[in-house]
């Protein structure tokens, strides 16, 4: 019971993170709820993969891929390019914490410190920097995965077979 509450709590706050950025990026009003759902489920999938021992990079990749595929389907009903939905939804997964820890590490490295501390700091900085880069690459690859797989220029050319009369078959 406790675990479920924790799960739902985190799901909710992940969604809040996504719509906070959605508002900052001035998205159309009709897309806000969709972005909440995409952000919440994408982030939750990341934590599920993390809990299954997949690591932060694999977790971010699967989370972003879920967001990427879902955004293509949602784009048809919200009449907006998929990336308007996908980018705010993956922003909570952007490795901001790793990136600025790496930056702070680099700044600290320039200070006068002894050899031992330097090596330890160097190790942390490289670790954080590499993680930031690969998580970012995984996010961007995950979001563009549907387009890379289906090889279409625009999401409008992907037929969604839920409401056949609305889908275009160009």
């Amino acid at each position: 019971m406790q675990e479920w509450l924790h799960f739902i709590d985190r799901w909710f706050w992940l969604g809040m993170g996504a719509i906070g950025f959605a508002i900052l990026f001035n998205v159309p009003k009709r897309t806000i709820f969709t972005i909440f759902l995409l952000g919440a489920f994408g982030g939750t999938l990341k934590f599920i993969v993390l809990a299954a021992g997949g690591g932060i990079i694999l977790g971010s990749f699967f989370g972003a891929m879920l967001v990427g595929f879902a955004s293509i389907f949602a784009a048809h009903y919200r009449h907006t390019p998929p990336f308007v939905l996908a980018i705010p939804a993956v922003i909570p997964m952007v490795p901001g914490a790793f990136a600025y820890r790496a930056m702070l590490g680099i700044i600290h490295l320039t200070e006068k410190i002894d050899h031992e501390t330097f090596l330890k700091l160097m190790e942390e900085t490289v670790d954080n920097g590499l993680k930031a880069f690969f998580v970012l690459a995984a996010l961007s690859l995950g979001v563009s995965a549907p387009m890379l797989i289906f090889r279409r220029e625009s999401a409008k050319n992907l037929v969604v077979r839920i409401k056949p009369d609305e889908a275009r078959s160009k």
Binding site: G15, G20, N26, T80, G96, I107
Partner: protein, 256 residues
């Protein structure tokens, strides 16, 4: 076509460059800009080639049959993410193709999109504050720390908006915001508010992360627009550096 083809091309090139520059400054990636411009030009039976860079767009319209071409260059306005614009232009480009819009109609729609309001400032501040609190919660913070993050984010974003309004250098505006946010969250860390105040400190600057430049950078690189990808990536790095320097200021002052 016969009736002053040159004037028509002139007008079309203005519209296309306006669309491109609006998309570039609203945070669309390079392949989307190219795609949208080609789509609109195709609706008027013209072919275009484009040179897309971060701060300027160059466009050549040509017509094979008449052996005629027309070039124009336009500077893009300073960047500020605005997805309402991207979404609106994308819808418009499809309606131009499907409903055979005239050029004056397109110009009118562009003017309408430009006049669309942003969300009210207080809503932006409150929602971004809530997003910051959300990050803190996901990290594992308790409600007291969430409140600290909310306040730090709210005031930090306010400072950034004010700095941008006073036309400070954009990186400097981010530095100010990061400094103010981490000073507030750092105070909570210094006074030991809540069980894990370092979560609040770490998440108080996350609203500044350059998510759009970095994701667009990677997707441009993936599309083969290597130059644009590098430019956007370096921009993202500069923003991260500004954030780190702002935090460093607070770290040095509080000695944490």
């Amino acid at each position: 076509m016969n009736q002053s083809g040159e004037e028509k091309v002139n007008e079309l090139s203005k519209i296309l460059l306006e669309v491109g520059s609006l998309l570039m400054s609203s945070g669309a990636n390079s392949s989307r800009i190219r795609m949208t411009i080609s789509r609109i030009a195709g609706a008027y039976d013209y072919d275009v080639d484009l040179l897309i860079t971060h701060r300027a767009l160059m466009l050549t319209i040509y017509n094979e049959e008449r052996d005629y071409f027309f070039s124009r260059l336009k500077r893009t306005s300073p960047h500020g993410v605005n997805f309402k614009m991207v979404s609106g232009i994308s819808r418009m480009s499809w309606r131009i193709v499907e409903e055979n819009w005239g050029m004056d109609q397109v110009q009118k729609e562009l003017d309408r999109l430009k006049s669309l309001p942003h969300y009210p400032r207080i809503i932006i501040l409150a929602m971004v504050g809530a997003a910051g609190a959300g990050f803190c919660r996901v990290f594992g913070g308790v409600y007291l720390e969430l409140l600290v993050t909310f306040v730090a984010t709210f005031i930090g974003l306010y400072v950034r908006q004010e700095a941008v309004k006073r036309s400070f250098n954009p990186y400097l505006a981010i530095f100010f915001a990061a400094f103010v946010s981490s000073m507030i969250a750092g105070l909570a860390l210094k006074l030991k508010v809540g069980p894990n105040p370092e979560y609040a400190f770490a998440t108080s600057v996350l609203y500044l992360i350059p998510g759009v430049p970095l994701i667009n950078s990677l997707s441009d690189l993936l599309d083969g627009n290597i130059m644009n990808g590098i430019v956007r990536g370096v921009n993202g790095l500069m923003i991260s550096l500004s954030i780190a320097l702002g935090m460093l200021g607070a770290v040095l002052i509080y000695g944490i």
